[in-house]
Structure formats: C-alpha cells, structure tokens
C-alpha cells in the first residue's frame, strides 16, 4: 500500500450499517458548512449524540456495511478528520464517501469490523495493511487501495497532488 510508513493507534467507536452522510453531517446544519470547525462539533451527532465529546485524536470510527451512503457532501469526511479521527473502518463504503475521504487524506479501510468491539484498542499499519486489535489480540487484514488512490494519499490529498504535478500524474 502506501510508501509512507505510518502506524495509527487509537480506540474504536462502533457504528452500525448504513451510516448515511445525513447522520454524519445533517442537512439541518447546512449553514455550518462554511464553518467546518463548528460543524465538526456535531460530527455523527445524529448517530451518537455523545460521540464528538468522547472522541480523542487518533481514535477510529468503525462502521458496518455501506458506510457513508447518500449525499456527495465532502464535509462529512472532512469533519470526521477535523474531529481527529485517524481512520474510518467498515465492511464496505459508499463510493462517493470513499473517494472523498482519499481526496482529503482520511484513510478509509475495508475489513471485517465484526471482529472489533466498542472501545477496543487498535494499531493500524497502513504500509502492511494490517489492523491489530490489541484488546482481543487478533490481526485483521484490510483490502489494498488502487494505485491511483495511494498516489493521492501519498501526496497528501487531491489538491496537493494536482498542485505538485501541475495536473494528474498517475
């Protein structure tokens, strides 16, 4: 996967299947899209009202099937990242959310999240593609990203990729 060596460590916050972007960044807070730090205080509020108060920098959002379905609003992964979340793990992701996350440099990892419980301590090696669940002492693999996405992530996101290469460079 990425050429950048990076180990992420943090605690798991579990969510269910079909976490829509309406639950991450609801339409009733449409007016806060121009104020992302303020919007980030409400991240995932409609799925877990206490989440934004509990999450610590480096922690992980762990979903089920089809995480991020719905609207194309990039503000959803942006405020997850702004809240300090190190990566989002899910059994599967909706396409636009997945692509948006890579574009803004938020790792999104597809793995068997049934093997992760609320509050488990995780260590993720992005280079090796391994998630260690320290709490129950097992290792999970995650699917590698396509090369194109690795390049974007390595450059720090899509705007950085375009600026650095003066266009696409795949």
């Amino acid at each position: 996967m990425s050429s950048k060596k990076k180990i992420l460590k943090g605690k798991s916050f579990k969510f269910g299947d079909d976490i829509s972007t309406d639950l991450v960044a609801p339409g009733r807070l449409f007016h806060l899209r121009s104020n992302l730090p303020e919007l980030a205080k409400h991240v995932l509020e409609d799925a877990d009202p206490e989440f934004s108060g509990k999450v610590k920098p480096g922690d992980f959002v762990v979903g089920g099937r089809n995480f991020g379905l719905g609207s194309s609003r990039e503000h959803a992964p942006m405020i997850i990242k702004l809240a300090g979340v190190g990566a989002v793990l899910a059994k599967s992701f909706a396409r636009i959310f997945f692509r948006n996350s890579i574009n803004i440099g938020l790792p999104v990892l597809i793995c068997d999240t049934d093997k992760i419980n609320e509050g488990d301590e995780l260590e993720i090696d992005l280079t090796k593609g391994v998630i260690k669940n320290v709490t129950i002492n097992i290792e999970l693999k995650f699917n590698p990203l396509p090369d194109v996405m690795i390049k974007i992530l390595d450059d720090g996101g899509l705007t950085e990729h375009i600026t650095k290469n003066k266009g696409f460079n795949f």
Partner: protein, 417 residues
C-alpha cells in the same frame, strides 16, 4: 471489443480503449456543483491556485438547495458562488431556476457526455445516455479547473424491465421495487444499464426518475439507451443538435443481468429510514401522514405534477394535512401553470413553492415536527433527512402521494377509480 455504454463513453473520453476495471484520466464535458457543495469547490480551486476555469460555458454553479436562503450564513455562501461565477464567466443558475439535475437535462447534458456533479443525484443525466456521476467538492474543483477527472470504468449490471406496467404503477414504483430487491449497496461501484420493453417505451420523465435513484442502490450512474424518445425530448428542448444514438453493443459483458417482470409490481413505498426498506402500499399498515411533498429532481417534472393534479382535481386534501408542491424547474412551473395544473393544486389546498429542492434536504420550506410523518416523492428517507431525526419519511410516486394527501394516510392510488 463489444462494449457496455460506460465502456464506450469512458473510452472515447480517455482517447484509448478501456474495459471495466481499468482506470484512466478522462476529459469531462459538463461540471457542476450546488450551494451545498459549490463553496467548498471554490475554496479548493483557489487553494490549487487556479484563477480561471477550463470550460467556463460548461461549468455551472447552482443555487437550489437552500434557495431562497433561509439564513445569513447561506446567503453569504450564495454570494460567494455568484461572485466566483461572475469572475470566471461560469454559468450561474440562481434562485428560482430550479433543481440542478433538472436544469442539466433541460439545458446542458447530452448523450455520450461525461457529466460530473457535486451532488450524488448527478446520475439523473444518465437517462439521456450520458455517463453522469456524483463526486465531492475537491474532485469537482479539479473538474472545473482542468475539465478532467479520473475514473475507474465500472462493471455494469443490466436491469431489464420486461412485461408491462400495471395501472397506478409508475417509474418510481419500479425503481423502489428494484432497490428493495438489490438493496442500498447492491450496485456500489457499478453502473446500471436499464433495458427491456418497459424501458425502451418509457417517456423521458420516467427514465429520469429511474436514473436519478440509481445512486440509492450505490451505483455510479444509471444509463438508458439514447433513442428516438431521447431525440424527441432534446428537440423539444431546442437541443436536437446534441442528439446521438448510444446503446450497448450486443455481446457486451455484464457482471449480472436482472430480468424484472413489471406486471408483478404494485404501487410501492420506501419506509423509514432507508430507501431499500421497500414494501407495496397494499401490504402497508394504515400510516397517518402530516405532510405530503410532491417535487424534487426525482418527481418534480411536468408529467409527475400532471398525474398528481388529475387525482386531486375537484378534491381537497385531508383535514390537518399539509400538501407542498415544488416544480423542479422554472420551465416545469410555467408549463404546469399554463396547463392549469397549479390551479388544481391550489384549489385542493396545496401550497406551491418556488422551483428548487424544497424541503427535501431539511434546510427550509417544510421541516417536520417531532414524530411527524411525511410522504414524499423525493429519493431519500434517511433519518434526519428532512431536518428532524425524530420524524419519519416514506417515499412514493406522485400518484400515491396525491391520493394519500386526500385520504390522510398512505393509500393505494388504484382505489381511486
């Protein structure tokens, strides 16, 4: 090589032969965003240091989701879009013009185009035979700046709507039935091609409804062949010149082919809080409703309003029920006015809203109270979608919505006659 519609269009725009699974940078024809995603796209364009757009005449900024603005923060976002469009010579579609996807099909998207939009329902233009897909603001910012994006050529699921439609059954019922069957991620990363006799004889308004909701099964786009019906539609729009015929090659390779016998499909609803929670109206318990909303990029077109008005003619909406109607565009609004459709709605007790997204996104114009139930012709019923997590949204066709508005609970439009 025999190709799917996606393989054809993406190969043309990449300047090389591509098949499903391959990734390439491609030229894009139309790029758009709306007031929820445009301001972020503008700041990303500025961050990359671009001060002009590659194809300003095909770069569109829509103000439709919170239009007219219900609060100052959004007014300021709108001002950013107006100023940026002015300074870059991009196209601005301001308050009252209509929902982005409707205006795209009326004025901008053509068969064979690649259309990218900062809105997940950009797939609506797929009904014209365009490869049209939703993306986030950063991808859209790059699209505006370079008229390029990167795409993975999707695998395609072919859905054949066979047989014929029962009375009281519409395109919306077919697509809700389909999503119920394949679920909300049944087509993730795939394109859906719609074929079969029902698709090939369906009018454009019906096709737009179905393509619009392809993303509700996770699809990247939902494509129809562009045929004589497409041609006639474009000619009526004064855009006959952009017609070209596009269909999949015989022998194109599909990941899956789904044959659906439409004669078994009844009027359908999506129950809270997911679109794939589908059920026939007949099998639904008696659900009392507080608000009915007819409109949106899914079902706010002339034929939708016409069907609803025919049902409402000479009748009143149920006591205590609010009926909101938002034509999808200025053009639809004017046509509906000339036909007397708006008068019928108003006489029945409806409130007509300006063209735009109306209450669909939960920003304004009809936010639900706690425990309230709305029957909407929109495409999404996620928890909190209409501005209140303690409310409930059902989705249906305009016919079911109109008949239910009269009855006061979700009711089968076939009861009417």
């Amino acid at each position: 090589m025999e190709k799917t519609i996606s393989e054809k269009i993406i190969s043309e725009h990449a300047g090389k032969e591509l098949k499903a699974g391959e990734i390439s940078v491609v030229e894009v024809d139309v790029v758009m965003s709306q007031d929820g995603t445009g301001p972020l796209a503008v700041s990303q364009i500025k961050k990359m240091g671009f001060d002009s757009l590659k194809n300003p005449e095909k770069s569109i900024f829509f103000i439709d989701h919170a239009a007219p603005s219900p609060r100052k923060e959004l007014s300021n976002s709108h001002a950013i879009l107006r100023e940026f469009a002015r300074s870059t010579d991009a196209v601005l579609s301001d308050v009252g013009r209509g929902v982005c996807h409707q205006v795209l099909i009326e004025d901008h998207s053509c068969p064979g185009d690649i259309v990218i939009g900062g809105d997940s329902h950009t797939c609506t233009s797929g009904a014209l035979g365009a490869f049209a897909t939703g993306m986030g603001s950063t991808d859209i910012a790059v699209g505006y700046s370079l008229a390029k994006t990167w795409l993975r050529v999707p695998d395609t699921i072919r859905v054949n709507f066979n047989g014929s439609l029962n009375k009281g059954v519409f395109a919306k019922d077919l697509v809700i039935y389909l999503i119920g069957r394949i679920t909300s991620d049944g087509a993730t990363y795939r394109a859906i091609e719609f074929g079969g006799k029902v698709s090939s004889t369906m009018d454009m308004d019906g096709r737009f409804t179905i393509s619009n909701m392809a993303v509700e099964a996770g699809a990247k786009t939902g494509l129809f062949d562009s045929d004589n019906i497409t041609k006639k539609y474009l000619e009526n729009q004064g855009r006959g010149g952009c017609f070209r015929e596009i269909s999949a090659d015989l022998g194109a390779v599909y990941e899956k082919v789904l044959d659906i016998d439409c004669s078994v499909i009844e009027p359908m609803v999506s129950q809270p809080h997911t679109v794939d929670n589908a059920l026939s109206v007949r099998d639904l318990e008696k659900i009392k409703i507080d608000q009915v909303f007819i409109g949106t990029c899914t079902n706010g077109r002339l034929s939708d309003l016409r069907v609803a008005a025919e049902i409402l003619k000479g009748k009143k909406v149920a006591d205590g029920l609010r009926l909101l109607v938002a034509p999808a565009s200025r053009e639809v609004y004017l046509d509906a006015m000339k036909e007397g459709i708006l008068a019928t709605f108003i006489e029945s007790g409806a409130a007509i809203q300006n063209p735009g997204c109306g209450p669909c996104v939960g920003v304004h114009q009809g936010i639900l109270a706690d425990e309230e139930v709305c029957l909407s012709t929109a495409n999404r019923n996620f928890k909190g979608r209409m501005g209140n997590t303690d409310s409930f949204i059902y989705l249906s066709s305009p016919a079911t919505a109109a008949w239910s508005a009269i009855r006061g609970y979700i009711a089968d439009p076939r009861e009417k006659s």
